[in-house]
């Protein structure tokens, strides 16, 4: 056991990830014996707005809906073995999540845990409205703001851990900060040690999508085979004093950690690799290298850091109208021709309603563009089992509903042999982003106090 290594295990890469992922990771952390942290990353761009809507309907909710399923199997062992838990599963209601975790500990007859709540990310209130309006240059005019959150960095997480938190519940923080915070707290780094922060940031980046660095989202049978995808091991980063990391996974679990897989994940959602900007640092991958240093063990080194910027990214979600989708199938001789004819009929009936997308599933389901350039250029391929899908967005619900009615009417008015109509209508959210001056945002943490909650 090396005391100079901090192990960070990641048991979720998004809201909706496998909820049985944590157990093998926690077992591996216990077996390793050194200082360790368990993170869950559950907040994608839209997740927080959906959580905000849930909270409006019920003020107790608005945190990760699968919180219980994720934590229940491992909470007792994490507390017993000193494995700290850090997560953004607080979503739109970190205090609500903390309350639920405290209840869960009680249900499991565990001693009360020290739970810290990170706040300050919510910038939807009156205090920040001027900054929102100027940052978005009028794009908010006439739109209802559902949520507005700044991406916080690692500092409040590190401070909470240093103050003795066993569990840190966050809302919107940058995903890698879930790893950087514990590293700062463990190694006692200053927050201007840019190289170290950048290396820990890339460790966090490799962890933040869960199994995507251990063989998930990689397999292509015959070319890129991965064993055991049904029981993938989730990743563990072993971070050293200088922030360098080895990515590995629980022994005996499915999946694989190799150089090619780590490279794919290293560049995932990266734009300019010399400037990966987070609230904590600007990480530079220009000279980054990966090296296999053992079975299912890959070392990342060569990452450099540059000073953090003076702004924070803010995501604003607004109600944006309705998404209507409708489908019908055709099979047998000339099926594709009949599906194309059906699309033409609906287009004519809905002329002027706005952009209307056509997919011929069985010929093309995702390659084509919304405007239809691709489909127009491709002649009838003679496909004999085709499902026509059409989709449209509209600010007005009544207009959006027309798509479903036109698709259903194809039963009697459309081409021969159409069947299996399904339609759906969903409210939609739009996301706007801008950079807000860092000084306008006040990240902080406090300890959850059940007495105070009852008062």
């Amino acid at each position: 056991m090396n005391k100079d290594v901090l192990r960070v295990g990641c048991a979720a890469g998004f809201s909706g990830d496998r909820t049985d992922a944590a157990r093998p990771v926690v077992d591996a952390l216990i077996e390793s014996g050194g200082p360790s942290v368990l993170i869950f990353e559950t907040l994608a761009e839209r997740t927080l707005a959906l959580a905000q809507i849930a909270r409006r309907a019920n003020p107790q909710l608005g945190y990760e809906p699968l919180l219980d399923e994720m934590l229940r199997p491992v909470l007792a062992d994490c507390l017993a073995h000193g494995i700290r838990i850090v997560s953004n599963f607080g979503a739109a209601n970190p205090r609500g999540a903390a309350r639920r975790i405290a209840e869960l500990a009680q249900e499991l007859n565990l001693p009360a845990a020290r739970i810290a709540v990170v706040s300050g990310d919510d910038v939807s209130g009156a205090d920040h409205r001027d900054a929102l309006n100027s940052g978005l240059q009028g794009a908010l005019a006439g739109r209802e703001v559902v949520s507005a959150n700044a991406y916080l960095g690692a500092e409040p997480i590190a401070s909470a851990l240093t103050a003795g938190a066993q569990i840190v519940v966050c809302g919107r923080v940058s995903d890698p900060s879930l790893t950087v915070g514990p590293a700062i707290a463990h190694f006692g780094w200053r927050v201007d040690e840019w190289d170290r922060l950048a290396r820990a940031t890339m460790a966090g980046h490799l962890l933040e999508c869960g199994a995507q660095v251990t063989g998930g989202y990689y397999a292509d049978p015959g070319l890129k085979d991965v064993a055991g995808l049904a029981r993938l091991g989730y990743p563990i980063a072993e971070i050293d004093l200088d922030g360098q990391c080895v990515i590995t996974k629980p022994s005996g679990s499915g999946g694989r950690v190799d150089e090619h897989i780590v490279k794919e994940q290293l560049l995932y959602e990266v734009h300019d690799p010399s400037a990966y900007v987070t609230p904590d640092v600007v990480a530079d991958l220009s000279d980054a290298q990966v090296r296999q240093v053992g079975g299912d063990r890959v070392l990342l080194h060569g990452v450099r850091g540059h000073p953090r910027t003076d702004s924070l990214k803010v995501n604003v979600c607004c109600a944006s109208g309705w998404l209507a989708e409708a489908e019908i199938s055709y099979a047998g001789a000339r099926a594709e021709g009949r599906a194309r004819l059906a699309a033409g009929i609906v287009r004519e009936r809905l002329a002027g309603i706005g952009p209307l997308r056509v997919d011929l599933i069985g010929v093309s389901s995702v390659i084509a563009d919304d405007a239809g350039h691709w489909l127009e250029a491709v002649p009838d391929s003679g496909a004999t089992d085709v499902r026509l899908r059409m989709a449209l967005r509209h600010a007005d619900r009544a207009q959006a509903e027309r798509l479903a009615r036109e698709m259903v009417a194809l039963y009697t008015c459309g081409p021969a042999g159409g069947g299996g109509v399904r339609t759906s209508l969903r409210p939609t959210l739009g996301t706007l982003s801008f950079l807000m001056q860092r000084r306008l945002v006040a990240p902080r943490y406090d300890f959850f106090d059940p007495q105070q909650e009852r008062a």
Partner: protein
Amino acid sequence: MTTSIEPLWRAAHGRTGDKGNRSNISVIAWHPALYPLLVAQVTESAVAQRFAHRRPARVQRFLLPSLHAMNFVLDDVLDGGVNDSLNLDSHGKALSFLLLDMPLEVPSELHVHLASIGPPTTSPHTQETPST
């Protein structure tokens, strides 16, 4: 020197990510010896042409020689992105495989480094080699 035309996936692999209406696609050489070939042929304009039907506003290529990899950033190819697109794959997650079908001219002496399709080497129930 004899060459043959091979699909890019024999020389490289990659993954797509998205932020807003912007997509990034990594192209990672299967072997360091294949990297110069990728740099020479998988250019910004070749990639822009590959995605012409999505009308990219800009295609940028970033080189990562120490990883034998390239990162492409395609602006405005997601029909507005995850919140606005009508595409079933509103994230554009399938786009890397569209790029990996692009034809590549490969000199015969580099063929030894190309990946090839074999029978799947594992079943879902195969036990992973234990970690060391």
